[in-house]
Subunit: 339 residues, 2 copies
DNA sequence: ATGAAAGCGCTAACAC
DNA sequence: GTGTTAGCGCTTTCAT
């Protein structure tokens, strides 16, 4: 057994070390890095040499502590494995990175309690701003966010009472648009497949209410307490078939994943789509136009959403615009072949 | 134009403030939070009351600076919108979060230069460890990482010269396994579709070399400089058809995305799979078992990979095991219907 | 153009 | 069980 405690002290190179080597004081090194124009060309050169020789990496922790500016932005999303959030995040971080901000990420798994814990942990790192998914948060979370005094953007939904900024779309309107389409296309019966996600449930409720009210027929609901997967979509169709499937039924899925599964299972069972069963997805993912038949769905522009969320925070930094700005990015109903 | 400078000073509540309110010193507040057992139950109560009343959120920046422990882990992946990295990341962060670490994320877009910049920025935040995707890094990146003196894990590949720990699989072996299968299944011709990704190109080369050597027939290569998408997979098949497609051709795709597209386009063109064209994917994604025909592919267990990467870092913290540990998680060739 | 001093909010010794 | 004293490595402010 070798002695583990013989590691070099690993103090880390500081600005003072670099300054010593370059024959200047520590502050001059600081200036050379943050406002080089205030340092003579010659000193600048010596400092950069010293940095290269020592392999100095500035300590942003100390910098942030001293300046109350961390250049960090916290982002909380339900799940990174869900492409709709991942692609939004990608667009968001491209912009933020371009403005010198780094992203601290957490997954909340659609769980407000977990979100509250994540918010607390993130706020302790003093981010310059924070992005949240959804507009429903625990009272504790709301209070912390309000106290934090930094720009906050809530995305993927719209709110009448945003914490600060808000960029999203109306889930109720999106569901109503789908119901209106189904009604006008002449479907007589409807069913829903819904994931364990508050926004999906809100869409289901709006769809069922609207379709039910106008058709007079109750909408059959299949709910899962998990995230949407292709496999669960297949399973839902199996369940639907075990009961009896009236002619001219349309299936409103809370995600394209479910819809894809429904299509696959319909195919496997010899059902024709949309003849025997019509399917409406949600999200307009990559594959939606390539399924058989191509998927009728609701498109959300995640790129735009991510970019606008970044812009909202940037505006917050500049104290531009009201601190209760709600930006509705809308949605688009895409009719393809499945309904 | 209203005056923007009238904001409240927003100094933020400190431990000293909490202590004052609770009638104790600042250190006692610190102890109450980090080792409550060292504080009397009564004082603890008063401190927690004070925290609740002030809405105090500890400043982890200051804590990290003082203790040289940030509880932050940096993770650099090519892209978060690629499910294979996203799902690895999910497994990784579940474990790290469970051990009290937060994730700082960056996307490198398969670009070593961008990776080097991201590494520099991340290291300045003094993470306790760092995860990198791939084993090829710029010399500058390598040097910084070595100097940082923190556990590093390189994933998604294996290396003879890891920076520190390494968890992945052999891309060459995976490609050879695919080529061996193709050969023994009696395919006479082969083509490849490859994304703009160094590891994908290494697989292509290994496949082409191995298949070519044993069959004596050159492998036709279609390369893209972008990430794999379903659409590009379709496009590749169109290109293949414009030239002439010999009987008994197998298509080795660098990702399931390409393979899915190839399947869709083959269907659209009236080609039978695997009769007219056989297709092999890579990754075994969610949809791979559900395509028509189901996709023959190479499975990588991303959950295991992410978990093992986390374990490697945790072992690094504990100074357990050699600092040149390479962990091969392997792969599995899955024969389904497409080849 | 450069430096000296103070302090950001915490943890780490070391007292008592 | 609690307090005191020193920093951690920067940025800020004020001199020069």
């Amino acid at each position: 057994m070798t002695d583990r405690n013989e590691d070099p002290p690993k103090r880390g190179v500081t600005m003072a070390d670099v300054g010593r080597l370059a024959g200047v004081s520590q502050v001059t090194v600081s200036r050379a890095l943050s406002s080089p124009s205030k340092v003579s060309a010659e000193t600048l050169q010596r400092i950069h040499d010293a940095i290269a020789r020592t392999g100095f990496v500035p300590n942003a922790l100390a910098g942030a502590l001293a300046s109350s500016k961390s250049n960090l932005v916290a982002a909380l999303v339900p799940s990174v494995t869900n492409i709709v959030y991942a692609s939004m995040l990608h667009a968001f971080s491209e912009i933020m990175w371009g403005h010198g901000y780094q992203i601290m990420l957490s997954e909340t798994g659609y769980d407000p309690e977990r979100e509250e814990k994540a918010i607390a942990t993130h706020l302790s790192r003093r981010p310059d701003a924070i992005l949240l998914t959804g507009v429903r948060h625990s009272p504790g979370a709301r209070r912390m966010l309000l106290n934090a005094g930094i720009p906050v953007v809530e995305i993927w939904d719209i709110s009448e009472t945003p914490i600060d900024r808000c960029v999203g779309f109306s889930h109720v309107d999106a569901a109503i648009a789908a119901a209106d389409f189904a009604l006008s296309a002449g479907y007589l019966h409807a069913a829903t497949i819904t994931a364990g996600d508050e926004r999906a449930q809100r869409r289901r409720d709006a769809f069922a209410r609207h379709f039910g009210k106008r058709s007079g027929i109750a909408v059959q609901q299949i709910d899962f307490d998990r995230s949407a997967t292709l496999g669960l979509g297949r399973e839902a169709v199996v369940q639907l078939l075990q009961q009896d499937l009236p002619a001219r039924t349309v299936l409103f899925c809370s995600s394209d994943q479910f819809a894809h599964g429904a299509l696959v299972e319909a195919g496997a069972q010899g059902l024709s789509v949309p003849g025997d069963l019509a399917v409406i997805g949600f999200g307009d993912q990559d594959f939606a136009a390539q399924t058989h038949p191509p998927l009728t769905t609701v498109r959300i522009d995640r790129q735009v959403l991510g970019k606008q969320a970044a812009q909202a925070l940037l505006a917050g930094f500049a104290k531009i615009g009201p601190s209760n700005a709600v930006h509705d990015v809308g949605f688009e109903f895409i009719q393809r072949g499945s309904a």
